[in-house]
Amino acid sequence: MKEQQYNSLKDQITPKTPLAINCLKAFAVGGLICCVGQAISFFYMMFFDFTEKTVGNPTVATMVFLAMLLTGFGQYRKLGQFAGAGSAVPVTGFGNAVVSAAIEGKTEGLVLGVGSNMFKLAGSVILFGVVSAFFVTLIKLILVSVGVAAW
């Protein structure tokens, strides 16, 4: 059987990914995670001395901590199988990527195992995040110097 013929047969038989339902599931779960984050923000603002400007730090820290707990107990991957992007995109997904890689590297020790492997998945996120932040700031600096924008 020729390659093209085979590939069209394969595409026929392979079940299509249910995009609509996946999007809905991702939307629902992602929204829920953000709701939890907002609730945590309000908690910090009401009971501690954080303003809207400064509450971002403790909120993200708490969300990552929760993601770490869920990952360690093996529950986050079940959430991920259900939600897809809904659990991978928020900062909890980032926490999950780092923690799951760290758990995996345990058998090679702390330095070569955990230390080296921890950012296996999240390294690109960090790298390109920092690089794009640099370029955006550079553009803003140029615009401010020219006089088009203000800090």
């Binding site: 309000f42 603002m45 009401m46 001395d49 954080f50 303003t51 809207e52 400007k53 400064t54 509450v55 730090n57």
Partner: protein, 133 residues
């Protein structure tokens, strides 16, 4: 049967939740007219959902909650209001904030009876508003 009672009572409770005046003020000043003028201005502004107005001696403190879409222009609205109030009341120290924390704390502050304590806490709030991280 139970479900119906639960939903009804929930709705009833929730209906009573957001039932307060758009602008609530606390004033310790003789210039009632000024205070009423500011209240009117705040009420008229469509971007503001709720506002707290505190007038103590020479301190003027406005804490507001903006409507969701207006939150994008938060800084601009804050600065505009600050300028507006400073122009009108050049004698006072004006502070305007659209931060939730300021609103929440000022609501609590308005229950306070002791004026000295109020002033102290107001100063603390102003300092908090200046924090960057």
């Amino acid at each position: 049967m139970w479900k119906a009672i639960m939903t009804l009572s929930l709705l009833l409770i929730l209906a009573g939740c957001n039932d307060r005046e758009k602008v609530v003020s606390y004033a310790l000043t003789d210039n009632v007219q000024n205070q009423q003028e500011i209240e009117k201005l705040l009420k008229e502004d469509d971007a503001i959902e709720q506002a707290n107005l505190l007038v103590i001696e020479d301190e003027l403190f406005v804490a507001m909650q903006l409507k969701p879409f207006e939150k994008w222009n938060r800084q601009k609205i804050e600065q505009d209001w600050k300028k507006k109030l400073e122009d009108k009341f050049s004698g006072s120290k004006v502070n305007v904030s659209a931060d939730f924390k300021m609103f929440w704390e000022s609501t609590k502050l308005m229950e306070e009876k002791d004026q000295k304590k109020m002033l102290k806490e107001l100063h603390a709030l102003k300092k908090l508003a200046k924090e960057e991280t």
